[in-house]
Symmetry: C4
């Protein structure tokens, strides 16, 4: 019944490992069905090498009840659910602990757009959601994590697909897209973007900061790949 | 007779190599038997690629005498023995020269908790044992190394399993756990934690320091994975 | 007809991936025919693992019209064309997003010659082309990119083959040579040179800068490998 | 006739590649015969993947004449020869462009002993030979390189085997030992030592410097592995 949904979810989870974004069991990918009713997600704490489509958990997006699968879903499932509720054109979400994105998250900083590699995939800076306070770190911790990410993103006044990722202060990155596979690819672009930004900052050792890429060039690169005037790739 | 003990010890030693924590012959893992009488440990200076269960040395924990095996045990054996005597719920110990943990050790600094990856496995900062003085670097060097690690850990007033690793000033990390396999996994988490902390510090180039993760979030993450209220993974 | 040209182009593109210079689809290599009339180049957005010689696009260098191949050429094709027009002894060009070279490009800095590894392949510093202004980032964006690279290079008053690479501010590196294969090798030397320069700068944390290699030693190394007096390798 | 000598030389050259110390063709290893008359060395500019024992060049140590082999020897051969003449208990030498050692060389700095990993293999700091002047970079360039390395080492008043490596300002490392295989291993220890020192320095961003390892602990570690009182490994 949920076979295709679970298979897609499995493949995106394995991509995280293949891209080197999720050491040990530190990452998870989810896929929403077309009707936005069922969310399929990695089970909690299961090693990628042992993961099968059958292990994937299916959850009702509205009430969070288990629909299919015998294992406990990822403890981050409520974060994914909250994001699906807020980002209504998103159908795939991933969370990783990839190193450079996590370094920016631990430093509690957004990733400024320093170059065209960034501009090719993210329209403007990659936001960093604010730190939760002690109350927010209580029972509703995972839902609150989703809330502050959505808040940080929606503050930009942009379509979530134009900035398909964000950092959580003191934690690490989330990325999303039109499918779990797209979300996994965006997580990989986010990590490479973070690495390039990190290396760039390293050339300014006296506390000076690199200048962001001029807006005209950010626009040129983003719109080479996205929107009606795109001219990158074969689909035109 | 000690077959199972030696096999477990072999497997943990090979894990060090697989995790990339022990370049060349720079690392060793030991396993204690359930009765806390016999310690099995890697022989000294033997390459991981040539290591067999038969090469593993078994030592009497009380008097340090050789019980089984024809090779010389790791020169660090007295450090392991001292730690087993002090940490009475620990059954596995590893020592590595993994790069980022060693950098903090050479800088003689503890690893502050900057993020949830750290908080998931270590409850609070990872301590750095003080430098030995010239006298302590004499005949009792290896035993003294164990003493200062135990001292640094027990000063925190915590169960050693809540902070399953520490650094030795000017040397490198030790990690431990309920078995040699757990100790090897904790050494890998320690290294990744050290790498993330290192990268985070690198974003503060003018001498400023990153802020530690708020206590409420450290607690939330640690207790998601440990203790009676844990809700991570499948065993609940 | 263009079989050999397309095969050489394919091989150079695959070298980019093999050298680790072009993550995802972020890179392209082109090869000019001996008569300087036809340019063969990677199609846009095609994954290296799926790329065949048949996919390679052949373009008329003069008017930019498609001569052979069904796919859209790389969006960077006009940059390659502009460089072939200006560098009349160059027959191969590559563009990558290799990390350390991109870090210098994002910092908008040339790569000074700090050591003999650099001097062996690049005669003097590797220039960084200036940032394009908003007008230049318009319809002629890719051609203008070629123009500022050529401008930065020709300002040095040198044969382009003596400094076979340059950075584009806010973007990444281009490299070139007597063939696409040579260009790909030069891109790899440029990346390793950038990495060594980056690491060297990292040892001067208080804002001080490393001293460049003395001119006499730069000359000695460059002319060990290039020109009439070369005595490196087997061809003498 | 020189079969064994050439085979040993081949194997040490392949080790440089296996250890990741010599990207492209950037490295060479040599082996001296027991009588200190013949030096076998890698041919110049030959790729490691194509190298066979038959390609290895044999040179008369006294007059530098070719004794066996049809290819041109490494351009660094005169440096090796000069070092063999000065270091009379050394039988193997290697030169690499390994990244962290080269970064220290480009920064023109010795590698201080910050930890026990260093002390296990190098007795005190790893020296950096002074920069050659314009005259020394002339016809006798390669011999002069050997001269300044020997000078830097012998100034320490130590047996070359106690500090089996050094850096050349603006260039990269040389390492040596009782055989080409030992020299290759020492080059690998030198690179890992350089990497650990580099990472340690990175934790002192405001220009402060890490403290060296106390002499008593340096001695303890060095003499655990070397000399009459050594107790590391199986040979005791």
């Amino acid at each position: 019944m949920y076979k295709k949904l679970k298979q897609k979810t499995l493949e995106a989870n394995l991509k995280l490992r293949e891209y080197g974004l999720a050491p040990f069991t530190w990452g998870n990918a989810s896929q929403l069905d077309r009707g936005r009713r069922y969310m399929a997600i990695k089970p909690s704490g299961v090693d990628y090498s042992a993961l099968t489509a059958n292990d994937v958990c299916v959850i009702d997006l509205e009430d969070g009840s288990a629909v299919d699968g015998k294992l406990n879903p990822s403890t981050d499932a409520p974060t994914h659910m909250e994001l699906y509720r807020r980002f209504t054109n998103v159908f795939g979400i991933v969370h990783t602990h990839s190193a450079y994105a996590t370094a920016f998250a631990q430093a509690r900083r957004p990733i400024p757009c320093y170059g065209t590699t960034h501009a090719d995939y993210f329209y403007g800076e990659i936001p960093c959601a604010r730190m939760l306070d002690a109350g927010e770190a209580g029972d509703e911790y995972e839902v609150n994590t989703g809330r502050v990410i959505a808040e940080a993103l929606l503050e930009l006044g942009l379509d979530p697909l134009a900035v398909p990722g964000a950092l959580i202060s003191g934690h690490g990155p989330f990325a999303w897209g039109g499918s779990a596979a797209e979300a996994a690819a965006n997580a990989a672009y986010l990590e490479e973007t973070a690495r390039l930004a990190y290396l760039t900052c390293g050339l300014f050792p006296a506390g000076a900061e690199p200048a962001p890429l001029p807006k005209a060039i950010q626009d040129r690169h983003y719109f080479r790949k996205h929107g009606a005037g795109a001219y990158y790739g074969q689909a035109r």
